[in-house]
């Protein structure tokens, strides 16, 4: 694994914004976190279309709505905690209800924020954002997918919530060949015994888990579900039909995120065991991200354990 390149998805966000710099319609906003969210990259390249609102996230979201109503494609950025949490109601009412063209670039999602601790570790944003009608929710697995998701979001009409991470994580995809499409999942491994549906940094853990499961004679299908809304229902139903057991994996609360979204579809169409890997209704705490992730069960070993359990429960 010596040749594994690691890069944070927030860096992919910066790359994506930079790729959009020639589009005169694109405006980028931040709330005093430009260095951390990587919007600073855009600011440097195009200061005239970058606006720092200072520490006022709700105001930023509503200003973004006003800009979008006047024809701009706006990327509004902060940490997930403040973009989806603090500014939830502005996102819902100023952006979501009028279905305006604002892309919320939320970095520092999940527990891998690390040392800053629970106040900054947002494990609820996917749940919050996917309840807003018309909101697209994307959680890229690596920096390549993050960049492509930003470009795709800019081409999509209406509000999009993009969730990025702070931690440098393995780059899985090859930018030269990888095709990203909003709403389409990607099957990364083939297997007929169980499907692991993962999102964000848990995709890489799912791939490791699939390797571990091979030793037990379990062939796992791994699906990268970058778009959580609209969910790729066909892929979920096919997984239920063809593998008969599903494990979801996300760096988010087990309540309301990918696991819930998948369970909704499976329960309503073709009930099979669905086990969820995620943060178990708890706040985070301070510590290095690499230690926190396994502490909260956000690791390949836990995915593999849940997969074995799911297989054993198959009818």
């Amino acid at each position: 694994m010596a040749d594994v390149i690691k890069k944070a998805t927030r860096d992919g966000y910066g790359d994506g914004l930079l790729a959009l710099v020639e589009d005169k319609n694109v405006v980028v906003m931040d709330a005093d976190l430009a260095a951390a969210t990587k919007t600073g990259v855009f600011k440097k390249a195009c200061p005239e279309r970058f606006f720092d609102c200072g520490i006022a996230e709700g105001n930023m979201m509503s200003i973004a709505a006003g800009l979008a109503s006047a024809g701009k494609t706006v990327f509004a950025s902060s940490f997930a905690m403040f973009a989806a949490g603090r500014a939830f109601e502005q996102v819902r009412n100023s952006i979501g209800y009028p279905h305006l063209n604002v892309k919320i670039g939320a970095t520092h999602g999940g527990i891998s924020v690390g040392e800053d601790g629970a106040t900054h570790q947002c494990n609820e944003d996917i749940a919050l954002m996917r309840t807003i009608p018309g909101m697209t929710v994307i959680n890229p697995a690596d920096a390549v997918e993050a960049k492509l998701a930003v470009i795709a979001a800019a081409k999509t009409d209406g509000p999009v919530y993009l969730r990025f991470g702070r931690l440098a994580v393995p780059v899985i995809f090859d930018e030269a060949t990888y095709k990203f499409e909003i709403g389409k999942s990607v099957r990364l491994t083939e297997g007929g015994d169980v499907t692991i549906i993962a999102t964000g940094l848990m995709v890489n853990e799912a791939l490791i888990a699939a390797e571990q499961l091979k030793a037990d004679g379990i062939a796992a299908r791994v699906i990268n579900m970058a778009t959580i809304k609209p969910l790729d229902r066909e892929a979920v139903i096919a997984a239920a039909q063809e593998t008969g057991a599903i494990v979801t994996a996300e760096e988010h609360s087990v309540i309301g995120g990918l696991g819930s979204a998948v369970a909704d579809v499976v329960c309503e169409t073709l009930p099979v065991p669905v086990l969820r890997v995620g943060v178990e209704d708890a706040f985070g705490k301070s510590g290095p991200a690499v230690d926190l992730l396994p502490l909260y069960g956000l690791c390949a070993a836990n995915i593999a354990a849940k997969a074995r359990e799911a297989v054993s429960r198959k009818a």
């Binding site: 200072g54 709700g58 509503s62 200003i63 006003g66 109503s69 009412n93």
Partner: protein
């Protein structure tokens, strides 16, 4: 102001008030008090001030208007109907199932509504975004927002004000409807935002204080706002909640309920008489 213009504006304001009473009666709900207090300002904005085209409501270079105190939608609808954005008949189905006119302004269903509002404090920020877009594109359109005096208790209003002044958005004009009453009582009883003009001055605004029922003062204030080239303007206008319907004036109880049939008749009689008097000159 010459008598014919004054007459035209007074008549327009009275028609807006009639729409407020009609709409809230038909809806059996809504917010007549704060809608009536801004009728004169809306009459001026929609007949004299705003550069808009009812035939092309989404005209890219139009002036923008945001009803930041979105619950006063009935007055906005009255003004839009008066200006020809949609037939006056629509007022009668305000807040009904399937109606175009929602309880709070909805930009995706109603021509002439530039922003969906209702959650207090947010509209003014969206107007800031519109003013910023104009500056960014080198366009000369302006953005206007009407805020309630209770609304300015929302911290977001001051976040928006800070940003607007910092960016020198001279094409932004916020209008505070200071009728001094909010749901739970007078401003002083609830949580005083006073002094209002001084606060906007401190935030870097050009501030004009007026009587919100005096068309000469309204005209002068809007003109002063346009003349100011280095700051956003705040017009703080003293108004009477429920203005124009005698039994609603200064009664906090009329903040958020529709008149019953008897009250409706009384109110409409008063307004029809007022309109007749205006038209007779």
């Amino acid at each position: 102001m010459e008598a014919t213009r004054l007459q035209k504006l007074s008549a327009a304001a009275t028609r807006i008030r009639m729409a407020v009473v009609e709409g809230t009666f038909r809806a059996k709900s809504g917010h007549p008090g704060g809608s009536l207090s801004i009728a004169d300002m809306l009459a001026y904005l929609y007949t004299e001030e705003l550069r808009i085209d009812p035939k092309n409501p989404n005209w890219a270079d139009r002036d923008r208007f945001v009803m930041s105190k979105g619950h006063c939608a009935p007055a906005l609808y009255g003004a839009l109907a008066l200006r020809g954005f949609f037939p006056e008949e629509e007022i009668k189905s305000l807040r009904h199932i399937g109606a175009m006119l929602q309880g709070h302004p909805c930009m995706t269903t109603t021509p002439g509504v530039d922003m969906s509002t209702g959650s207090l404090g947010q509209g003014v920020s969206t107007a800031v975004g519109m003013a910023l877009a104009a500056k960014l594109d080198g366009k000369d359109y302006r953005a206007y927002a009407i805020l309630g005096d209770g609304e300015i208790q929302e911290g977001q209003v001051w976040e928006a004000a800070m940003f607007a002044a910092h960016k020198k958005l001279s094409n932004l004009c916020v209008i505070v409807d200071n009728n001094d009453l909010q749901i739970d009582g007078t401003m002083d009883e609830v949580n005083s935002p006073y002094p209002i003009p001084e606060k906007f001055v401190a935030f870097g605004f050009n501030v004009v204080e007026i009587d919100g029922h005096d068309f000469d003062e309204i005209e002068a204030a809007l003109s002063a706002a346009r003349a100011c080239t280095d700051k956003p303007t705040a017009i703080v206008m003293k108004t009477v909640k429920g203005k124009g319907v005698s039994f609603m004036e200064n009664q906090v109880g009329w903040h958020g309920k529709g008149p019953n049939a008897e009250e409706y008749e009384t109110a409409m009689q008063e307004l029809r008489a007022a309109l007749a008097a205006i038209e007779e000159g």
